[in-house]
Subunit: 185 residues, 2 copies
Amino acid sequence: MQRTSFARQQCPVARSLDCVGEWWSIVILRDAFHGLSRFEEFQESLGISSNMLSRRLKALVKSGLLQRRAYQQRPTRYAYLLTPRGRDFLPVILALLAWGNRHLATEGIAVEVRDRLTGQLLDPIVVDRGTLRHLTTATISLAAGPAAGPGVRARMARVASHRRDVRLPAGPGNRALRLPKRAKH
Amino acid sequence: MQRTSFARQQCPVARSLDCVGEWWSIVILRDAFHGLSRFEEFQESLGISSNMLSRRLKALVKSGLLQRRAYQQRPTRYAYLLTPRGRDFLPVILALLAWGNRHLATEGIAVEVRDRLTGQLLDPIVVDRGTLRHLTTATISLAAGPAAGPGVRARMARVASHRRDVRLPAGPGNRALRLPKRAKH
């Protein structure tokens, strides 16, 4: 349970991780993107305990990624469906899938992304919405936004200083250039 | 520690999660994309215990996302640098960041993605590399690849059956259409 650790961070990456909850939640979302919606379906697919699955589904409903809807009365049974916020999580799943296929599929590709209508094989990459330029470590940087608090601004400043520091040639003399410790945030 | 749970799964999403390790590892990678590389820098930025940070850095080196390089002798000090595999993880970070900014930045945007040279604000989306078409739940589906084992194929078949099932009008009569339990994989 790393949830509480990230709760107060302003960084959107940490917040997203905090909102989703944990590894299991991402695999549940993957199955929801596949089209599964019922408790038994998730359990069958994941081989996960009822308790754990129940906790994760409740958390995903609470954080607004899934919505619960009764599909049967007497006894009432619920389907768990992706909300617009949940559907919008697809890029994270696709990025994880593409990375896994590229770096970890030692015996070949087990799951691939295809066009729903034509069946054409797709290769997910991240681009800028406006220019469609491919975003890589060479072309982008992370910057403080308009609502950045002192914590985020301090990290950005620290990063800028460290970058200058890193560019200096290595040597014992450079130790003095290391920044003094700052308060944690 | 959910690591072992996903280790034997063939799904590339589960494998990626297994390879990265846990939430903290993703935040360490985020800081590495910022340009941080030294133990003290990560610790300062994350406010994480030495033990935990040491474990996570070792795991990220072992799984090939970071490499350790001595930047100073007597005492030896190491920098942790992104490998090509690590740099290729950027799309996951950008997808998490974009989702967090869209859905969780209640007080405004704290961290944004900018062009490294021009400073232009960027909006990361996932498209197909060949056609540059935006990939959404409406346009894609996940399919079994050439190396899919019986486990993945069974899940895909189950998903296809469930989809047909879900399209039927709700009603008590439909209970008989639910699929029998299959062996977990």
